[in-house]
Symmetry: C2
Subunit: 226 residues, 2 copies
DNA sequence: TGTGTTTATAAACAGCTGTTTAACTTATTG
DNA sequence: CAATAAGTTAAACAGCTGTTTATAAACACA
Protein backbone atom coordinates (compact mmCIF):
# COMPACT_ATOMS: atom_id res chain seq x y z
CA UNK A 1 0.00 0.00 0.00
CA UNK A 2 0.97 3.60 0.16
CA UNK A 3 3.40 4.86 2.73
CA UNK A 4 1.74 5.79 5.99
CA UNK A 5 1.97 9.50 6.79
CA UNK A 6 4.81 10.51 9.12
CA UNK A 7 3.97 10.41 12.78
CA UNK A 8 2.46 13.50 14.20
CA UNK A 9 4.08 15.89 16.55
CA UNK A 10 2.65 15.67 20.05
CA UNK A 11 4.27 18.53 21.88
CA UNK A 12 1.49 21.13 21.73
CA UNK A 13 3.24 23.57 24.04
CA UNK A 14 6.40 23.58 21.92
CA UNK A 15 4.36 24.10 18.77
CA UNK A 16 2.47 26.99 20.34
CA UNK A 17 5.73 28.65 21.40
CA UNK A 18 7.24 28.21 17.95
CA UNK A 19 4.18 29.86 16.45
CA UNK A 20 4.43 32.82 18.80
CA UNK A 21 8.11 33.27 18.10
CA UNK A 22 7.75 32.97 14.32
CA UNK A 23 4.78 35.32 14.36
CA UNK A 24 6.70 37.94 16.32
CA UNK A 25 9.46 37.88 13.73
CA UNK A 26 7.17 38.01 10.72
CA UNK A 27 4.84 40.64 12.17
CA UNK A 28 7.85 42.79 13.05
CA UNK A 29 9.33 42.50 9.58
CA UNK A 30 6.15 42.74 7.51
CA UNK A 31 3.57 44.40 9.71
CA UNK A 32 0.21 42.85 10.47
CA UNK A 33 -1.37 43.10 7.03
CA UNK A 34 1.50 41.86 4.94
CA UNK A 35 2.43 39.10 7.34
CA UNK A 36 0.77 35.91 6.12
CA UNK A 37 -0.17 32.94 8.22
CA UNK A 38 1.43 30.66 5.69
CA UNK A 39 4.76 32.43 6.11
CA UNK A 40 4.46 32.25 9.88
CA UNK A 41 3.49 28.57 9.86
CA UNK A 42 6.24 27.66 7.43
CA UNK A 43 8.75 29.29 9.77
CA UNK A 44 7.18 27.61 12.81
CA UNK A 45 6.88 24.21 11.11
CA UNK A 46 3.20 24.15 12.00
CA UNK A 47 -0.01 23.66 10.10
CA UNK A 48 -1.97 26.75 9.08
CA UNK A 49 -5.08 25.46 10.85
CA UNK A 50 -3.13 25.45 14.12
CA UNK A 51 -3.52 29.21 14.27
CA UNK A 52 -7.27 28.83 14.53
CA UNK A 53 -6.92 26.01 17.03
CA UNK A 54 -4.51 27.74 19.42
CA UNK A 55 -5.24 31.42 18.91
CA UNK A 56 -8.66 31.62 17.25
CA UNK A 57 -7.57 33.79 14.32
CA UNK A 58 -4.77 35.87 12.87
CA UNK A 59 -5.94 38.71 15.11
CA UNK A 60 -5.78 36.44 18.13
CA UNK A 61 -2.23 35.41 17.28
CA UNK A 62 -1.19 39.02 16.92
CA UNK A 63 -2.78 39.90 20.24
CA UNK A 64 -0.94 37.07 21.96
CA UNK A 65 2.37 38.16 20.43
CA UNK A 66 1.81 41.68 21.62
CA UNK A 67 0.85 40.61 25.13
CA UNK A 68 3.92 38.36 25.37
CA UNK A 69 5.97 41.32 24.35
CA UNK A 70 4.43 43.41 27.12
CA UNK A 71 5.13 40.74 29.68
CA UNK A 72 8.73 40.54 28.53
CA UNK A 73 9.01 44.27 29.06
CA UNK A 74 7.99 43.85 32.64
CA UNK A 75 10.69 41.27 33.27
CA UNK A 76 13.43 43.40 31.83
CA UNK A 77 16.13 45.39 33.58
CA UNK A 78 15.16 46.64 36.99
CA UNK A 79 13.95 50.22 36.57
CA UNK A 80 15.86 53.10 38.08
CA UNK A 81 14.04 54.53 41.10
CA UNK A 82 14.54 57.17 43.79
CA UNK A 83 14.73 54.39 46.36
CA UNK A 84 18.04 53.27 44.78
CA UNK A 85 19.69 56.10 46.70
CA UNK A 86 21.91 59.00 45.67
CA UNK A 87 20.83 62.56 44.94
CA UNK A 88 17.73 63.15 42.82
CA UNK A 89 20.00 64.65 40.16
CA UNK A 90 22.15 61.52 40.03
CA UNK A 91 19.04 59.37 39.92
CA UNK A 92 17.79 61.34 36.93
CA UNK A 93 21.14 60.86 35.20
CA UNK A 94 20.94 57.13 35.77
CA UNK A 95 17.31 57.06 34.62
CA UNK A 96 18.17 58.77 31.33
CA UNK A 97 21.13 56.50 30.77
CA UNK A 98 19.02 53.45 31.49
CA UNK A 99 16.34 54.47 28.96
CA UNK A 100 18.85 55.24 26.23
CA UNK A 101 20.78 52.06 26.89
CA UNK A 102 17.52 50.18 26.57
CA UNK A 103 16.18 51.76 23.37
CA UNK A 104 19.46 52.25 21.55
CA UNK A 105 21.39 49.11 22.47
CA UNK A 106 19.23 46.40 23.85
CA UNK A 107 16.22 46.93 21.70
CA UNK A 108 18.27 47.57 18.61
CA UNK A 109 19.57 44.02 18.80
CA UNK A 110 16.04 42.70 18.68
CA UNK A 111 13.77 45.09 16.82
CA UNK A 112 10.70 42.87 17.06
CA UNK A 113 9.20 44.69 19.99
CA UNK A 114 9.71 48.21 18.75
CA UNK A 115 8.30 47.34 15.36
CA UNK A 116 5.24 45.72 16.81
CA UNK A 117 4.81 48.74 19.05
CA UNK A 118 5.09 51.10 16.08
CA UNK A 119 2.34 49.15 14.39
CA UNK A 120 0.23 49.22 17.53
CA UNK A 121 0.59 52.97 17.79
CA UNK A 122 -0.74 53.36 14.31
CA UNK A 123 -3.75 51.13 14.89
CA UNK A 124 -4.29 50.79 18.62
CA UNK A 125 -6.02 47.68 19.89
CA UNK A 126 -7.24 47.21 23.48
CA UNK A 127 -3.88 45.56 24.20
CA UNK A 128 -2.24 48.97 24.06
CA UNK A 129 -4.27 50.28 26.97
CA UNK A 130 -3.23 47.25 28.99
CA UNK A 131 0.42 47.85 28.11
CA UNK A 132 0.19 51.51 29.07
CA UNK A 133 -1.43 50.66 32.37
CA UNK A 134 0.96 47.87 33.35
CA UNK A 135 4.26 49.03 31.91
CA UNK A 136 4.27 52.64 30.78
CA UNK A 137 2.37 54.37 33.54
CA UNK A 138 4.48 53.04 36.46
CA UNK A 139 7.62 53.99 34.53
CA UNK A 140 6.24 57.45 33.84
CA UNK A 141 5.16 57.99 37.40
CA UNK A 142 8.57 57.09 38.79
CA UNK A 143 10.13 59.64 36.44
CA UNK A 144 7.62 62.16 37.76
CA UNK A 145 8.73 61.49 41.30
CA UNK A 146 12.39 61.89 40.31
CA UNK A 147 11.67 65.21 38.57
CA UNK A 148 9.63 66.42 41.52
CA UNK A 149 12.52 65.58 43.85
CA UNK A 150 14.96 67.51 41.65
CA UNK A 151 12.63 70.49 41.55
CA UNK A 152 11.39 70.42 45.11
CA UNK A 153 7.76 70.11 44.02
CA UNK A 154 4.92 67.63 44.39
CA UNK A 155 4.91 64.86 41.80
CA UNK A 156 1.38 65.81 40.74
CA UNK A 157 2.50 69.30 39.72
CA UNK A 158 1.45 69.80 36.11
CA UNK A 159 4.91 70.99 35.12
CA UNK A 160 6.44 67.76 36.45
CA UNK A 161 4.02 65.75 34.34
CA UNK A 162 4.81 67.77 31.22
CA UNK A 163 8.56 67.59 31.85
CA UNK A 164 8.20 63.80 31.94
CA UNK A 165 6.82 63.87 28.42
CA UNK A 166 9.47 66.35 27.31
CA UNK A 167 12.28 64.15 28.62
CA UNK A 168 10.92 60.85 27.34
CA UNK A 169 10.13 62.38 23.94
CA UNK A 170 13.62 63.79 23.70
CA UNK A 171 15.27 60.47 24.53
CA UNK A 172 13.18 58.17 22.35
CA UNK A 173 13.48 60.56 19.39
CA UNK A 174 16.91 59.03 18.82
CA UNK A 175 15.25 55.67 18.32
CA UNK A 176 11.96 56.56 16.65
CA UNK A 177 13.40 59.03 14.17
CA UNK A 178 16.65 57.21 13.62
CA UNK A 179 16.30 57.47 9.84
CA UNK A 180 16.35 61.26 10.20
CA UNK A 181 19.00 61.57 12.91
CA UNK A 182 21.38 59.25 11.08
CA UNK A 183 21.10 61.31 7.90
CA UNK A 184 21.32 64.72 9.57
CA UNK A 185 24.10 63.63 11.88
CA UNK A 186 25.77 62.88 14.20
CA UNK A 187 24.83 59.20 13.82
CA UNK A 188 22.66 57.56 16.45
CA UNK A 189 24.93 55.91 19.06
CA UNK A 190 25.63 52.21 18.58
CA UNK A 191 28.14 51.46 21.37
CA UNK A 192 27.95 51.74 25.12
CA UNK A 193 30.49 54.60 25.33
CA UNK A 194 28.57 56.55 22.65
CA UNK A 195 25.31 55.97 24.51
CA UNK A 196 26.92 57.16 27.74
CA UNK A 197 28.09 60.35 26.03
CA UNK A 198 24.64 61.08 24.61
CA UNK A 199 23.06 60.28 27.98
CA UNK A 200 25.42 62.74 29.68
CA UNK A 201 24.63 65.43 27.13
CA UNK A 202 20.91 64.93 27.58
CA UNK A 203 21.15 64.76 31.36
CA UNK A 204 23.11 68.04 31.45
CA UNK A 205 20.55 69.68 29.17
CA UNK A 206 17.60 68.38 31.17
CA UNK A 207 19.07 69.18 34.59
CA UNK A 208 19.92 72.65 33.36
CA UNK A 209 16.31 73.11 32.33
CA UNK A 210 14.87 71.74 35.57
CA UNK A 211 17.19 73.82 37.69
CA UNK A 212 16.30 76.97 35.81
CA UNK A 213 12.58 76.23 36.20
CA UNK A 214 12.87 75.43 39.90
CA UNK A 215 11.99 78.90 41.15
CA UNK A 216 9.71 79.86 38.24
CA UNK A 217 6.45 78.01 37.89
CA UNK A 218 5.44 78.35 34.26
CA UNK A 219 2.42 80.34 33.17
CA UNK A 220 0.74 76.99 32.49
CA UNK A 221 0.98 75.96 36.11
CA UNK A 222 -0.04 79.30 37.50
CA UNK A 223 -3.05 79.60 35.24
CA UNK A 224 -4.33 76.21 36.33
CA UNK A 225 -4.75 77.58 39.82
CA UNK A 226 -7.59 79.92 38.81
CA UNK B 1 -30.95 46.31 -28.15
CA UNK B 2 -29.26 46.91 -24.87
CA UNK B 3 -28.55 50.39 -23.62
CA UNK B 4 -25.29 51.73 -24.93
CA UNK B 5 -22.62 52.21 -22.25
CA UNK B 6 -22.32 55.76 -20.90
CA UNK B 7 -19.83 57.94 -22.69
CA UNK B 8 -16.33 57.90 -21.38
CA UNK B 9 -14.76 60.56 -19.31
CA UNK B 10 -12.21 62.53 -21.29
CA UNK B 11 -10.50 64.61 -18.64
CA UNK B 12 -7.41 62.52 -17.96
CA UNK B 13 -5.76 65.13 -15.75
CA UNK B 14 -8.80 65.38 -13.48
CA UNK B 15 -8.93 61.59 -13.21
CA UNK B 16 -5.28 61.38 -12.33
CA UNK B 17 -5.69 64.02 -9.60
CA UNK B 18 -8.73 62.25 -8.18
CA UNK B 19 -6.71 59.04 -8.02
CA UNK B 20 -3.85 60.77 -6.19
CA UNK B 21 -6.19 62.37 -3.73
CA UNK B 22 -8.19 59.21 -3.05
CA UNK B 23 -4.99 57.19 -2.72
CA UNK B 24 -3.55 59.62 -0.21
CA UNK B 25 -6.63 59.25 1.93
CA UNK B 26 -6.81 55.49 1.73
CA UNK B 27 -3.07 54.93 2.21
CA UNK B 28 -3.15 57.22 5.23
CA UNK B 29 -6.08 55.40 6.77
CA UNK B 30 -5.19 51.81 5.93
CA UNK B 31 -1.48 51.82 5.28
CA UNK B 32 0.09 50.60 2.08
CA UNK B 33 -0.63 46.88 2.41
CA UNK B 34 -4.22 47.07 3.54
CA UNK B 35 -5.17 49.82 1.13
CA UNK B 36 -6.69 48.17 -1.93
CA UNK B 37 -6.74 49.58 -5.41
CA UNK B 38 -10.42 48.78 -5.64
CA UNK B 39 -11.13 50.96 -2.61
CA UNK B 40 -9.03 53.78 -4.02
CA UNK B 41 -10.61 53.56 -7.47
CA UNK B 42 -14.12 53.40 -6.07
CA UNK B 43 -13.41 56.58 -4.14
CA UNK B 44 -11.82 58.24 -7.19
CA UNK B 45 -14.54 57.06 -9.58
CA UNK B 46 -11.92 55.54 -11.78
CA UNK B 47 -11.26 52.15 -13.30
CA UNK B 48 -8.83 49.82 -11.54
CA UNK B 49 -6.76 49.48 -14.70
CA UNK B 50 -6.17 53.23 -14.63
CA UNK B 51 -3.62 52.73 -11.87
CA UNK B 52 -1.45 50.70 -14.21
CA UNK B 53 -2.06 53.16 -17.02
CA UNK B 54 -1.15 56.36 -15.11
CA UNK B 55 1.20 55.15 -12.38
CA UNK B 56 2.49 51.77 -13.51
CA UNK B 57 1.53 49.90 -10.36
CA UNK B 58 0.30 50.23 -6.82
CA UNK B 59 3.90 50.99 -5.78
CA UNK B 60 4.09 53.71 -8.40
CA UNK B 61 0.91 55.30 -7.14
CA UNK B 62 2.24 55.26 -3.60
CA UNK B 63 5.52 56.87 -4.71
CA UNK B 64 3.65 59.62 -6.51
CA UNK B 65 1.47 60.29 -3.46
CA UNK B 66 4.56 60.56 -1.27
CA UNK B 67 6.35 62.90 -3.67
CA UNK B 68 3.28 65.13 -3.91
CA UNK B 69 3.23 65.22 -0.15
CA UNK B 70 6.87 66.33 -0.04
CA UNK B 71 6.21 69.08 -2.56
CA UNK B 72 3.25 70.29 -0.50
CA UNK B 73 5.51 70.49 2.54
CA UNK B 74 7.74 72.92 0.72
CA UNK B 75 4.86 75.25 -0.07
CA UNK B 76 3.60 75.44 3.48
CA UNK B 77 3.86 78.18 6.09
CA UNK B 78 6.93 80.34 5.84
CA UNK B 79 9.51 78.99 8.29
CA UNK B 80 10.61 81.01 11.28
CA UNK B 81 14.13 82.37 10.79
CA UNK B 82 16.64 84.57 12.57
CA UNK B 83 16.27 87.09 9.75
CA UNK B 84 12.68 87.73 10.94
CA UNK B 85 14.14 89.95 13.67
CA UNK B 86 13.81 90.07 17.44
CA UNK B 87 16.13 88.46 19.98
CA UNK B 88 17.41 84.91 19.37
CA UNK B 89 15.38 83.86 22.43
CA UNK B 90 12.18 85.27 20.97
CA UNK B 91 12.96 83.67 17.64
CA UNK B 92 13.35 80.30 19.33
CA UNK B 93 10.02 80.79 21.08
CA UNK B 94 8.36 81.54 17.76
CA UNK B 95 10.11 78.60 16.15
CA UNK B 96 8.83 76.18 18.77
CA UNK B 97 5.33 77.59 18.54
CA UNK B 98 5.39 77.34 14.78
CA UNK B 99 6.42 73.68 14.87
CA UNK B 100 3.81 72.73 17.46
CA UNK B 101 1.11 74.68 15.66
CA UNK B 102 2.02 72.80 12.51
CA UNK B 103 2.14 69.27 13.91
CA UNK B 104 -0.65 69.55 16.45
CA UNK B 105 -3.18 71.75 14.66
CA UNK B 106 -2.61 71.96 10.96
CA UNK B 107 -1.47 68.43 10.41
CA UNK B 108 -4.03 67.01 12.76
CA UNK B 109 -6.79 68.30 10.52
CA UNK B 110 -5.31 66.33 7.68
CA UNK B 111 -3.40 63.34 9.01
CA UNK B 112 -2.59 62.03 5.55
CA UNK B 113 0.92 63.37 5.45
CA UNK B 114 2.03 62.26 8.88
CA UNK B 115 0.67 58.78 8.36
CA UNK B 116 2.35 58.39 5.03
CA UNK B 117 5.54 59.65 6.61
CA UNK B 118 5.23 57.13 9.42
CA UNK B 119 4.99 54.41 6.81
CA UNK B 120 8.01 55.78 4.97
CA UNK B 121 10.05 55.80 8.15
CA UNK B 122 9.34 52.15 8.65
CA UNK B 123 10.27 51.20 5.10
CA UNK B 124 12.35 53.98 3.62
CA UNK B 125 12.36 54.46 -0.15
CA UNK B 126 14.73 56.79 -2.03
CA UNK B 127 12.00 59.44 -1.78
CA UNK B 128 12.83 59.86 1.88
CA UNK B 129 16.36 61.00 1.21
CA UNK B 130 15.01 63.58 -1.22
CA UNK B 131 12.56 64.82 1.39
CA UNK B 132 15.27 65.07 4.03
CA UNK B 133 17.53 66.98 1.71
CA UNK B 134 14.94 69.44 0.43
CA UNK B 135 12.70 69.94 3.43
CA UNK B 136 14.12 68.62 6.68
CA UNK B 137 17.76 69.67 6.44
CA UNK B 138 17.12 73.39 5.78
CA UNK B 139 14.65 73.45 8.63
CA UNK B 140 17.10 71.71 10.92
CA UNK B 141 19.95 74.01 9.96
CA UNK B 142 17.92 77.15 10.66
CA UNK B 143 17.15 75.81 14.13
CA UNK B 144 20.87 75.22 14.58
CA UNK B 145 21.56 78.85 13.74
CA UNK B 146 18.90 80.01 16.20
CA UNK B 147 20.33 77.83 18.97
CA UNK B 148 23.85 79.01 18.23
CA UNK B 149 22.68 82.62 18.46
CA UNK B 150 21.02 81.96 21.83
CA UNK B 151 24.18 80.26 23.11
CA UNK B 152 26.75 82.52 21.56
CA UNK B 153 28.40 79.65 19.70
CA UNK B 154 29.02 78.63 16.13
CA UNK B 155 26.19 76.79 14.46
CA UNK B 156 28.49 73.85 13.68
CA UNK B 157 29.20 73.27 17.37
CA UNK B 158 28.32 69.66 18.12
CA UNK B 159 26.21 70.64 21.12
CA UNK B 160 24.10 72.91 18.92
CA UNK B 161 23.49 70.05 16.54
CA UNK B 162 22.49 67.69 19.34
CA UNK B 163 20.26 70.30 20.95
CA UNK B 164 18.44 70.59 17.63
CA UNK B 165 17.59 66.90 17.83
CA UNK B 166 16.66 67.22 21.49
CA UNK B 167 14.28 70.09 20.81
CA UNK B 168 12.68 68.63 17.70
CA UNK B 169 12.30 65.22 19.37
CA UNK B 170 10.69 66.81 22.39
CA UNK B 171 8.19 68.76 20.31
CA UNK B 172 7.18 66.07 17.87
CA UNK B 173 6.79 63.54 20.68
CA UNK B 174 3.40 65.16 21.35
CA UNK B 175 2.36 64.19 17.84
CA UNK B 176 4.16 60.89 17.30
CA UNK B 177 3.32 59.37 20.66
CA UNK B 178 -0.08 60.95 20.96
CA UNK B 179 -1.65 57.62 21.91
CA UNK B 180 0.59 57.54 24.98
CA UNK B 181 0.42 61.20 25.95
CA UNK B 182 -3.38 61.29 25.68
CA UNK B 183 -3.71 58.29 28.01
CA UNK B 184 -1.09 59.41 30.52
CA UNK B 185 -2.35 62.99 30.50
CA UNK B 186 -2.65 65.86 30.19
CA UNK B 187 -4.25 65.45 26.76
CA UNK B 188 -2.39 66.56 23.66
CA UNK B 189 -3.45 70.16 22.84
CA UNK B 190 -6.22 70.55 20.28
CA UNK B 191 -6.86 74.30 20.28
CA UNK B 192 -4.69 77.29 19.51
CA UNK B 193 -4.63 78.54 23.13
CA UNK B 194 -3.64 75.07 24.38
CA UNK B 195 -0.89 74.84 21.78
CA UNK B 196 0.36 78.27 22.81
CA UNK B 197 0.52 77.19 26.42
CA UNK B 198 2.43 74.02 25.62
CA UNK B 199 4.75 75.98 23.34
CA UNK B 200 5.44 78.44 26.16
CA UNK B 201 6.15 75.61 28.59
CA UNK B 202 8.53 73.95 26.15
CA UNK B 203 10.22 77.22 25.24
CA UNK B 204 10.81 78.04 28.92
CA UNK B 205 12.22 74.57 29.51
CA UNK B 206 14.46 74.70 26.44
CA UNK B 207 15.68 78.25 27.03
CA UNK B 208 16.42 77.34 30.63
CA UNK B 209 18.51 74.43 29.39
CA UNK B 210 20.35 76.44 26.73
CA UNK B 211 21.06 79.29 29.13
CA UNK B 212 22.43 76.90 31.74
CA UNK B 213 24.66 75.22 29.13
CA UNK B 214 25.89 78.51 27.72
CA UNK B 215 29.02 78.71 29.86
CA UNK B 216 29.57 74.95 30.17
CA UNK B 217 30.43 73.03 27.06
CA UNK B 218 29.43 69.46 27.69
CA UNK B 219 31.97 66.69 28.10
CA UNK B 220 30.95 65.56 24.64
CA UNK B 221 32.03 68.80 23.09
CA UNK B 222 35.19 69.11 25.15
CA UNK B 223 36.26 65.56 24.48
CA UNK B 224 35.90 66.09 20.78
CA UNK B 225 38.69 68.65 21.00
CA UNK B 226 41.31 66.02 21.92
C1' DT C 1 -14.38 58.82 -45.08
C1' DG C 2 -11.01 55.42 -43.90
C1' DT C 3 -7.01 54.06 -41.34
C1' DG C 4 -3.72 53.76 -37.73
C1' DT C 5 -2.77 54.99 -33.06
C1' DT C 6 -3.91 56.11 -28.42
C1' DT C 7 -6.85 56.03 -24.47
C1' DA C 8 -10.07 54.12 -21.24
C1' DT C 9 -12.08 50.33 -19.24
C1' DA C 10 -14.74 45.81 -18.42
C1' DA C 11 -13.59 41.39 -17.76
C1' DA C 12 -10.55 37.90 -16.84
C1' DC C 13 -6.51 35.96 -14.85
C1' DA C 14 -3.46 33.98 -11.51
C1' DG C 15 -2.35 33.91 -7.16
C1' DC C 16 -2.76 34.66 -2.46
C1' DT C 17 -5.38 35.05 1.84
C1' DG C 18 -7.69 33.61 6.39
C1' DT C 19 -10.91 30.37 7.62
C1' DT C 20 -13.51 26.05 7.56
C1' DT C 21 -14.29 21.20 6.87
C1' DA C 22 -13.51 16.53 7.26
C1' DA C 23 -10.82 12.75 8.36
C1' DC C 24 -7.67 10.59 11.00
C1' DT C 25 -5.00 9.86 15.32
C1' DT C 26 -4.42 10.03 20.08
C1' DA C 27 -6.00 10.52 24.72
C1' DT C 28 -9.46 10.05 28.19
C1' DT C 29 -13.37 8.15 30.52
C1' DG C 30 -16.73 4.87 32.28
C1' DC D 1 -12.42 -2.55 26.02
C1' DA D 2 -15.52 0.59 23.58
C1' DA D 3 -17.12 5.03 23.19
C1' DT D 4 -16.25 9.67 23.30
C1' DA D 5 -13.51 13.76 23.34
C1' DA D 6 -9.60 16.26 22.04
C1' DG D 7 -5.85 17.23 19.02
C1' DT D 8 -3.67 17.48 14.45
C1' DT D 9 -3.64 18.45 9.84
C1' DA D 10 -4.38 18.18 4.62
C1' DA D 11 -7.45 19.88 1.63
C1' DA D 12 -10.97 22.77 0.30
C1' DC D 13 -13.51 26.97 0.37
C1' DA D 14 -14.76 31.71 -0.54
C1' DG D 15 -13.17 35.86 -1.28
C1' DC D 16 -9.96 39.30 -2.24
C1' DT D 17 -5.85 41.18 -4.55
C1' DG D 18 -2.85 43.55 -8.23
C1' DT D 19 -2.13 42.87 -12.85
C1' DT D 20 -3.12 41.63 -17.64
C1' DT D 21 -5.89 41.11 -21.73
C1' DA D 22 -8.99 42.38 -25.15
C1' DT D 23 -11.75 45.64 -27.08
C1' DA D 24 -14.58 49.75 -27.82
C1' DA D 25 -14.15 54.52 -28.14
C1' DA D 26 -11.73 58.53 -29.23
C1' DC D 27 -8.33 60.96 -31.65
C1' DA D 28 -5.28 62.42 -35.44
C1' DC D 29 -4.21 62.52 -40.01
C1' DA D 30 -4.40 62.05 -45.07
Amino acid sequence: MLNSPPSREHDAEARRERLLKAAATVFAKDGFEKASLRAICLKAKANVAAVKYYFGSKDGLYREVFLSSCQDSMKEDAPVTLADGGTPEDTLRRWIHHLLDHVLLKRAKNPVKSQIMAHEMREPTPCLNEFIKLVVRPFHEELQRIIAAVMGRRAADEDCILYCHHIIGLCIHYDHCRVFVDRLGPPVPKTAPEVQRLADNIADFVLGALTSRRASPSKTASRSKK
